[in-house]
């Protein structure tokens, strides 16, 4: 850490190789589109190196970086530019969950199903689901993070749950990747 703070390239690279995959994964799960995710990822990693001297080691470095990544994702989701492009979101969703979903060779069937199901949600709903279910944020904290009301968080979560439940209900014509 000390070497990385002093600008030692090898130390910075070591930190990058350990933390970058999980960081990009988190960002991609929230924002979906690869190009946008890489942009936010670049911002996040640059911010991490810039703020490294201020890191107080009260939490693991990975958890700290996760907070920065999450904050950057929310910044993107809240930006006026993105709000102006909201009408494109429906089109993006219509293109299917495959593009937004995150899969890689060796992925288990149920993971692929789940990633595809997440991919069907709008990025804002995905962020709310992820923050509530995985990161452990409360509705109040999510509402504060988005600058919205608590009922916004609750309704986003309820709608997302309903959508995910519908996705997992067996339907003709949709092939599941889950081995039964």
């Amino acid at each position: 850490m000390a070497r990385a703070c002093a600008g030692d390239t090898a130390a910075r690279e070591a930190i990058y190789s350990v933390l970058a995959p999980a960081t990009l994964t988190l960002i991609r799960r929230i924002v979906g589109q690869r190009a946008v995710a890489e942009d936010i990822f670049q911002d996040t990693m640059m911010a991490m190196y810039e703020r490294l001297p201020q890191f107080r080691r009260e939490a693991p470095l990975g958890a700290w970086l996760r907070q920065i990544a999450l904050s950057r994702c929310l910044m993107y989701l809240r930006s006026p530019w993105r709000r102006m492009c909201l009408h494109l979101e429906a089109e993006h969703l219509a293109r299917g969950a495959a593009e937004a979903s995150l899969t890689m060779p060796g992925y288990r069937g149920e993971w692929i199903d789940l990633e595809r199901a997440l991919g069907t949600l709008a990025p804002t709903a995905r962020a709310v689901v992820w923050m509530y279910e995985v990161e452990g944020y409360s509705h109040e904290e999510i509402a504060r993070a988005f600058g919205r009301s608590v009922s916004f968080s609750k309704s986003q979560l309820a709608r997302a749950h309903a959508r995910l439940r519908a996705w997992f209900e067996p339907q003709e014509g949709r092939q599941s990747c889950t081995l039964i």
């Binding site: 006026p80 530019w81 995150l102 504060r144």
Partner: protein, 180 residues
């Protein structure tokens, strides 16, 4: 954080079971290259912003000399925006939250898009709005983390500067629209 005393719902379990490193980021060398590129881009953007600010300020001055001052007779049907123009902070008043609130209220009265969209100014407006959203986010993080008053003041100052810049650009847009 919400209490996790209840048994985890299946969705949370499934989501938490997803692999943390499902996305492969580009290598460290590419990260460094992109970081350098961004730093260069930011340096290049500085003179462009300065030039844009000068052009806008000159435009505002020229238009206000031509159409400003006392409103001519018979223009009573003109929109309220034109009649009043942007509010001014009392001379000598420090840039405060209350002060920017007045400016933001005026900005909120403007139509989302001007009558004629100029690509250059639109880019400036969206850029400023994006930057404003970023500063808002930093401010809320700083407040939650109870950052030093100096940092809060610096962020607030930056916010005031951005609101001022946005106000100038939007005001110039309204003047140009009405001069047509």
């Amino acid at each position: 954080m919400h209490p996790d005393l209840d048994p985890q719902p299946p969705l949370a379990q499934l989501l938490r079971g997803l692999p943390e490193t499902a996305a492969r980021p580009y290598g460290f060398a590419e990260f460094e290259r992109r970081s350098r590129e961004r730093a260069r881009g930011a340096q290049r953007a500085m003179p462009a912003w300065t030039l844009l600010a000068v052009v806008i300020a000159a435009g505002v001055l020229a238009l206000s000399l031509r159409f400003g001052g006392r409103a001519p007779e018979g223009r009573g049907s003109a929109p309220a925006v034109e009649a009043t123009g942007p509010p001014r902070l009392p001379a000598g008043e420090p840039a405060t939250v209350v002060g920017t609130d007045i400016l933001e209220q005026w900005l909120a009265t403007l139509p989302r898009e001007p009558a004629v969209v100029h690509v250059g100014t639109r880019a400036a407006v969206t850029g400023l709005e994006d930057r404003l959203a970023q500063v808002d986010d930093l401010l809320s993080v700083a407040r939650v983390e109870q950052a030093r008053p100096a940092r809060l003041a610096a962020l607030q100052q930056e916010r005031t500067r951005l609101v001022g810049a946005l106000l100038q650009v939007r005001y110039a847009e309204t003047l140009v629209d009405e001069s047509r």
